[in-house]
């Protein structure tokens, strides 16, 4: 564990009391279909997927390689388009939004944590974290304050001016989490968020995400192979051959 990083539990203790639980549905997908057609090859990735996630829930999507986990996450988050069915995020059908509006929606309501390439190498940690705020028109001073606050939440405020190349794997992923949370998103999407970390650091990151989930009542949807993540989540969605086979 990084010396600078506090544990997720400690963060949770330092934070304000948890928000009350809610039964509000934040993600509602039904009959989602996605096919990749190159003209020569046709791959059906999602076959009528139906899924509901409540606000504040932490959900793991698991299954064998190629079952459509990442495709589902990309479609749910609006990164990718769907060929059939519908997806509502807080009641908004992303597939009906033009690209710019969809991007603004993502910037305002969502945070992302990926396995690789999370941070832009030419920006410092704090500049990376404030980027989603600046591109949505937040004033630079306010954005910087919020970015530093987010870095503080994940325990690496003193590394704010360092570039990603100067951070450890765990610190980079903490900075990524800070970026995912800085805009106060309703949903945080994670695609193998600990896949590139050693087990000790991975545990720390998991604790941190869980702590933030509990503290802020933010929805986390994580695609993973890691059973430890599944064990930590409220629910596991099992997928196979493009279908949800258990939730």
């Amino acid at each position: 564990m990084d010396a600078s990083a506090a544990s997720g539990a400690a963060l949770l203790e330092r934070a304000a009391p948890p928000l009350p639980p809610t039964n509000e549905v934040i993600i509602e997908a039904s009959g989602v279909e996605k096919t990749y057609d190159t003209g020569k090859v046709r791959v059906v990735a999602l076959r009528g997927v139906a899924l509901t996630v409540r606000r504040g829930e932490m959900v793991a999507i698991m299954g064998p390689s190629g079952c459509g986990k990442t495709t589902l996450l990309n479609c749910l988050s609006g990164l990718d388009t769907i060929d059939g069915g519908s997806i509502l995020i807080e009641g908004t059908d992303l597939s009906r939004l033009p690209d710019n509006a969809r991007t603004e929606f993502r910037a305002a309501k969502m945070g992302f944590i990926f396995q690789f390439y999370n941070l832009l190498p030419v920006l410092s940690a704090v500049e990376n974290v404030e980027l989603p705020l600046l591109v949505t028109g937040i004033k630079p001073r306010g954005a910087r304050e919020r970015a530093l606050e987010a870095l503080g939440q994940v325990g690496i405020r003193e590394w704010a001016d360092h570039r990603p190349a100067e951070l450890s794997g765990g610190q980079r992923q903490r900075a990524t989490i800070a970026r995912a949370l800085v805009n106060g998103p309703a949903i945080v999407w994670g695609d193998e968020p600990t896949g590139d970390l050693d087990s000790e650091t991975a545990d720390e990151i998991l604790q941190l995400m869980r702590a933030l989930n509990v503290r802020n009542r933010q929805t986390f949807v994580l695609v993973t192979h890691d059973p430890r993540i599944g064990a930590l989540c409220d629910r596991i969605v099992q997928m196979k051959d493009g279908r949800v086979v258990g939730a």
Partner: protein, 726 residues
């Protein structure tokens, strides 16, 4: 240099400065609107220093070529103009015999009294400063000391009393020489003539008139100018002597060959003086010629002609530079694809990515254009050094670059690069977020988007319009552009309807190739008569290369197949070769751009070689050009030879070695006027009079014959019919 491709350079500069300012204003606006994105772009510049240097070098190439072209044009313009100014000095106009409107001085004489008449007419004219009667004749000269001979030096008789406004004759040291105070046999020998004769002050020159030698003494060696018989690059120069002495020498008392005129306001006053001279000479057998202005125009046209050729290759380099910019940005985008995907995922719009690349590109652009312009001038000056070695004997090369050329080169470089960056940045911003994050190839759509339908329809409409414009105006450039735009746009349009890309693009590209490569007899039958200029080299080069590249890229699977078949013979190398072929085929766009770049370079080199070969054949000549003749002897008017063979025999030449001799009389084009039946002037041609021996002994096949002539002999026979001119 004032005109490029028919457009004044001043206008080009103003337009470029406005566009340049707009580019900078747009960049400033982007910076102010979203500094984070701008910073993100600029931070990429020092990310990989070696890569940055390569990019700057790549981007500066087009600016370098443009700057070098302009500086070379300036140098040629300045050198040729400089020589005109040196030669003509204070002489602005000339009054000569004839009425053809040109400065023909082929021996026609004028009465010296004409000068006094003109002086009385122009007394009080504020524009005319002086009139100088001149008697000039080409004569053979031998330097007795060095025994060197020059067959045609120009003896120039000048009136010392009227020489003042034309500037004193000066020796090579700049010291004034008083022509009126020379000894009776003294002459001022021009610098070039002195070099050819290796003459020194005090040498005796034997000047032949009517085949009789007349001794003259070199009193001084003066600078080359009209006053010392020097008329330009091809001139052997001559010597100046008092008018009276010249008239006595040439047996032409009271006669002159021209009147030189000098203006108070220099050559700028030529239009006003010409108007006054034409009024004064109306109804006489004499005419005024704006000699210096005319030569300056010719100098300018020559400079522009060279500049046009250089710029033609500059255009190729711009095209290659644009491809290079696209390639650089595509590669940069490919390298940063996952980062860009993440940036889009967390809230950056396509516009932000475009702005990010624009900021980065602008930083490269401003620096590279500056470096390119500076290096371009250096390259041009180096070229001037080479030119001085080649043409230095003809006229001195003066390396020159004007601030206007520098501004045009720099702003053109910046603007071209900026526009290329905008388009390439827009292109790379349209990435698929998911494939970008995963760094996997983008999916190939079965059919293209509606945007392609719009582009295709617009392309077809624009192409049809260009065809119509070309056919209406008789210009091949718009016609050919339209003829190629239509099939290519149709291919784009058909893609929207799901027609396979390989099929439509291959057919369209073959149609473009067919248009340019079809036999001229076919195009003459199929299309209206069209005129074309040097710009067609560029257009055809671009479109031929583009079409061939499209065919190669979309049919590259055939290449893989062929590699597989041919590779069976050497199975050990097959895997390596297959992999080597597979990588370029995986990225059609990049491979196509790379092929196009190399092809354009090769195409421009071939064009340059072809032009060079043609010019060399025209200038230096081949066996065909000399029509089989080996020796040419030039006869001066002052020393006529009535029987050439007898003269050779009389001088001890063994004429048994000579198979044939013939006689030609050349009338310079300046002295001719071609009139249509209605009296309108249609042009001027050099006229060559030939004798029967020339026809009988020349190897001169005719390229085309008029209807009714079955053979070359029939044509020559018709020429030989004795006729009486009206």
């Amino acid at each position: 240099m004032k005109v490029i491709f028919g457009i004044p350079t001043g206008s080009i500069m103003v337009v470029l400065l406005v566009v340049f300012a707009l580019c900078l204003a747009l960049s400033a606006l982007l910076f102010l609107r979203n500094r984070a994105v701008f910073r993100l772009g600029v931070r990429n510049v020092p990310r990989r220093p070696a890569q940055t240097i390569l990019i700057v070098v790549g981007l500066m190439l087009s600016t370098l070529i443009i700057a070098a072209s302009f500086a070379t044009g300036d140098t040629l313009d300045s050198s040729i103009r400089g020589q005109v100014l040196d030669v003509y000095g204070q002489t602005d106009e000339q009054v000569v015999a004839g009425s053809s409107g040109t400065a023909y001085q082929g021996g026609a004489r004028l009465p010296e009294t004409l000068v006094a008449d003109l002086e009385s007419r122009f007394r009080g004219n504020p524009d005319v400063e002086g009139l100088l009667p001149v008697l000039a004749e080409s004569l053979p000269v031998v330097d007795q000391r060095t025994r060197l001979f020059e067959p045609a030096l120009t003896a120039t008789g000048l009136d010392p009393a009227r020489l003042g406004p034309f500037g004193p004759l000066a020796d090579t040291g700049g010291k004034a020489v008083n022509l009126g105070a020379l000894p009776a046999d003294g002459v001022v020998l021009g610098k070039t003539a002195a070099e050819k004769l290796n003459a020194s002050v005090g040498d005796t020159l034997l000047v032949y008139v009517q085949n009789q030698p007349h001794p003259l003494t070199v009193a001084a060696i003066g600078a080359d100018s009209l006053l010392t018989g020097y008329t330009g690059a091809s001139s052997a120069g001559g010597f100046a002597l008092p008018l009276g002495t010249a008239q006595t020498l040439l047996g032409a008392p009271g006669q002159i060959t021209r009147v030189d005129v000098t203006n108070r306001g220099g050559v700028q006053q030529s239009p006003a003086v010409m108007q006054a001279l034409e009024a004064a000479l109306a109804g006489t057998p004499y005419q005024a010629v704006d000699a210096q202005a005319n030569e300056l125009r010719t100098a300018e046209e020559t400079g522009n002609a060279f500049l046009t050729i250089f710029l033609l290759f500059g255009l190729f380099s711009i095209a290659v530079g644009i491809l290079l910019i696209f390639l650089i940005f595509v590669l940069l985008a490919a390298e940063r694809k996952p980062e860009m995907g993440i940036a889009r995922a967390v809230g950056m719009k396509r516009r932000h990515l475009t702005e990010m690349f624009l900021a980065e590109g602008l930083a490269y652009d401003l620096v590279s254009a500056l470096v390119g312009a500076a290096l371009g001038v250096l390259v041009a000056f180096a070229m001037a050094g080479f030119m001085a070695r080649i043409f230095g004997q003809a006229f001195p090369i003066r390396p020159t670059v004007t601030w206007q050329s520098l501004v045009i080169a720099y702003t053109l470089g910046v603007v071209v690069t900026f526009v290329s960056i905008v388009i390439s940045a827009w292109r790379v911003s349209r990435l698929n977020i998911v494939t970008a994050i995963r760094d996997t190839p983008d999916p190939v759509p079965v059919r293209e988007s509606r945007r392609w339908l719009i582009f295709g329809a617009l392309g077809v409409a624009l192409g049809a319009l260009l065809v119509w414009v070309g056919a209406t105006t008789g210009q091949e450039f718009p016609f050919a552009t339209g003829m190629c735009a239509v099939p290519l746009s149709l291919a784009v349009l058909l893609r929207r309807f799901g027609v396979p890309a390989r099929l439509v693009f291959t057919v369209a590209a073959f149609l473009v190739l067919f248009y340019f490569l079809m036999p001229s007899t076919w195009s003459g039958t199929l299309f209206p008569h069209l005129t074309a200029g040097i710009e067609m080299f560029f257009l055809s080069g671009i479109l031929l290369v583009a079409a061939a590249t499209v065919i190669i890229v979309w049919n590259a699977t055939l290449l893989t197949f062929l590699v597989g078949v041919l590779g069976r013979a050497s199975a050990r190398w097959l895997p390596a070769v297959k992999i080597a072929v597979a990588y370029p085929l995986e990225r059609k766009g990049r491979t196509g751009m790379t092929i196009s770049m190399f092809s354009l370079i090769v195409f421009s080199l071939v064009v340059m070689a072809a032009i060079n070969d043609n010019v060399m054949r025209r200038v230096v000549g081949t066996g065909d050009v000399s029509a089989g003749w080996d020796v040419m002897a030039v006869q001066g008017q002052a020393n006529p030879i009535t029987d050439f063979s007898a003269t050779l025999v009389a001088h001890g030449v063994d004429t048994g070695q000579i198979a044939a001799t013939s006689r030609l009389q050349v009338v310079p084009w300046q002295a001719t006027q071609v009139l249509q039946a209605g009296g309108a002037t249609t042009g001027q041609y050099q006229v060559v009079g030939i004798d029967r021996a020339f026809i009988d002994n020349s190897r001169l096949p005719l390229q085309t014959r008029a209807t009714g002539y079955d053979s070359d002999a029939a044509v020559w026979g018709r020429c030989w019919v004795t006729r009486t001119w009206p």
